[in-house]
Symmetry: C2
Subunit: 466 residues, 2 copies
């Protein structure tokens, strides 16, 4: 770096940029060979950093060196083809390049006018997704509904809960309001209730396949009403985090409508699968939902963060979240001719995240995304078949998508030990979870570059360690 200390010239940026691209290309080329989980001890990375900031500029060479020496030992490789933990946070080269373009442009799309392209591409691409995922036409920007990119499903769900609470504010205090979820719902819903100040997050029993028991839901709603509480929302899951169970959306909708609640659907992971028609029966009834969220950053090859929230009616959302100070006033907004997405979520500022979603859909085409989903689901089916055929193991739950849950037949501890041994091997990462005191191993197949060879290797590893 030379000259003015506040500059890296465009030419220096160019040279350092090539090196950075090479570094990322090499990483993507070799990530499959690296131990999947970081094995550093707590504090080991921090210990490599000086106690105070440098007073003088350091050259880019030092940053690149420390990327290898300091950062890499502390990286858990979500982009490894041997990543089977949690849900995927998959990515793709065009998404990474779009992130570079977006960072280079450095726009802040809080208002339409602060970069019309950021808003209009977002609107159009989310309309595309409505068609691609078989969602109701009325959720498009041309209807009463609309979609918005948020950071995470936690943010989207929290937003939906805030709108539900706000709409019911004249019926009583938030402390008396109740939100219903299955006992398998993601923790973000309970957290969203806490953050929104909603008094009760009622966990409803599930059936043998871990889907919400709608009779139990109705009973709970009636009991709460009888107790003077205010039922405001049900959050259904299409693909729970534990086992990808799907709540019966249509039957839940009957209860929701009967009691005038807000029906939010959390399809954070499984939403992507809806791009394939054969999965849509699992979201039957979705046209009756009030809001729906899914994460292109989980399974659609768009790097984190990129969450989508749709609402069936944008009016209550904007009514809850719009505040217009004088410094944000502008002609386009006042004419009502444009969308200002700042009124669709908690934060004001927003990155140009639509760019990567647009580039991924164009780079792979709908057909490419469909084949990726089908390939992952097929790999999951194959793995599940092997597990089923092996008397040492038992499937723990149905596997409608890319997640396979299984146990060792010799019990809880054996299952935990197997999961830990897989993770300690460095050759694959899985998640050990638990329902009602029973441990099970979650194998989530969804990383962009995962092929049958990687699943075969995982199976060999499981076999060796059992």
């Amino acid at each position: 770096m030379s000259g003015d200390p506040t500059h890296m010239t465009p030419d220096e940026f160019r040279q350092n940029g090539y090196r950075m691209v090479d570094w990322v290309a090499d990483y993507l080329d070799h990530v499959g060979e690296m131990p999947v989980l970081s094995s550093v001890e707590p504090g080991a990375i921090a210990a490599k950093l000086p106690a105070s900031a440098p007073e003088e500029p350091e050259p880019f060479d030092d940053l690149l060196r420390d990327l290898d020496e300091v950062v890499m030992p502390g990286i858990t490789h979500w982009q490894s083809p041997n990543w089977f933990a949690y849900f995927p946070a998959n990515s793709s080269p065009p998404s990474v390049l779009a992130e570079l373009a977006s960072a280079g442009l450095g726009v802040q799309g809080m208002l339409w006018s602060t970069s019309p392209a950021a808003t209009e591409i977002e609107t159009r691409v989310l309309d595309w997704l409505v068609d691609l995922m078989g969602l109701p036409e009325s959720w498009k920007s041309t209807g009463p509904g609309g979609g918005v990119i948020q950071m995470s499903a936690s943010d989207a769900t929290h937003t939906a809960l805030v709108v539900a609470r706000h709409q019911n504010r004249h019926r009583g205090p938030a402390e008396d309001m109740v939100v219903y979820v299955s006992n398998q719902a993601h923790s973000s819903i309970e957290k969203g209730c806490t953050v929104a100040g909603i008094g009760h997050c009622r966990k409803i029993d599930v059936d043998s396949e871990f889907a919400m028991d709608v009779d139990a839901l109705r009973t709970a709603v009636e009991a709460d009403r009888a107790a003077g509480l205010i039922p405001i929302s049900v959050v259904s899951a299409i693909g729970t985090t534990g086992t990808t169970a799907c709540d019966p959306i249509d039957a839940v909708a009957d209860v929701v409508e009967e009691y005038g609640m807000w029906h939010h659907v959390d399809a954070a992971y499984a939403g992507t699968a809806m791009i394939c028609e054969e999965f849509r029966p699992l979201q039957e009834g979705v046209a009756r939902a009030d809001s729906y969220t899914f994460n292109p950053h989980k399974w659609m090859m768009v790097n984190f963060d990129c969450n989508v929230l749709w609402v069936a009616d944008r009016a209550p959302l904007i009514d809850t979240l719009s505040i217009l100070p004088p410094y944000l006033k502008n002609e386009a907004s006042e004419a009502g001719a444009v969308i200002d997405y700042r009124d669709w979520h908690v934060p004001l500022g927003r990155r140009f995240r639509a760019l990567k979603l647009w580039w991924v859909i164009r780079s792979y085409g709908a057909s490419g995304i469909r084949s990726m989903v089908r390939r992952h689901v097929e790999l999951a089916d194959d793995l599940a078949a092997r597990i089923e055929d092996d008397r040492r193991f038992e499937l723990f739950a149905p596997h409608p998508f890319g997640l396979v849950c299984f146990t060792r037949v010799d019990g809880h501890d054996a299952t935990r030990s197997l999961g830990d041994a897989i993770n300690q091997s460095g050759r694959a990462a899985v998640t050990v979870s638990e329902i009602d005191g029973v441990a099970f191993i979650r194998v989530s197949i969804g990383q962009t570059t995962t092929t049958s060879a990687h699943v075969d290797a995982l199976w060999t590893l499981i076999d060796d360690l059992s």
Copy 2:
């Protein structure tokens, strides 16, 4: 793109990556020559996009072509050296490259264990900033406090308000709680109250320099208590959005402590200036605050998004936001040996944003950031002096940092017309705002590449158009 439709090979990524780097380098080289504001009509960008997603993959060439042809006409150039609108969202080459590295790694740092480096670098770098900005030692991770990167100041402030509400939940319903701000406070605080379900956001009068009138604050708190309401928090501003006024933090703290409230300090823009000792008297008393937020993505050359929230005591924050489902359990967290930042904000997932903050601080050094701040403030002082010396104009407010607010002496409409004319010229962007029915022009000097030549050109433009 060839072969498997779900892949762009590392080599193709490398070639396309070089082109993307060239594109960004060219952009940074030429952004100063482009009309600053986009002049497209509503709907013009969307009209260039097909009505539905492509079924088949499109080549990267087409994406790059459309970046120029479709996207660029709809971009408002926040990175232009002629950007004087809103506050800056400044950036720098090392920050853009860190964003590329972060996207390439594609880690999701919700837990320490899901990439220890992401957590530990964040913790260490935020500790560095405590020293750099003259904040209390006890806010470091080694004390009872701590810092966390959030998306935006809106998110950080909302989080602080939720904690304040949660801590007071046994005193009465949220609908009866009151948060106090000056009538110049950012809209995110009123929005944060709405989102958090806090019943009242009381706007306190300001003095002649637009800083909170502490006597008026005390009177309001006492009146609310007498009315049976529950005062829970004061949000002070160091650098209001309208005019960068600074509330008297120390005097506010007296009232806050007397009534047992939570004192949140919003230094979203001006926090960066605190890296220079001479500005610290403007945050005198900050050691008595409960939380403090600032945006490295505004004025510290870190591209959006990167917000920092510090709390003086991390216990109530974590107590409010921690929910631990079985699939997130892990040894390191259970041993209490690590920080899991998911418990420090609303969302669960998080990008590796600390990387760009770390790279920017190292690339420029504390001295480089200090000189950038001083250069911008000096440019603002120069501009203010010219305005003061010109009988056509009048300064509207003090200019402690990089923002200069002025009016035309011939009135409201003339000021508005001048602002609009500047923006329509394409040669600079400013913001026209209003306080108590008086319009004024905000000239915010803070883009990384803005030099005296750009401010001179702006002054010539103002002169020509007046």
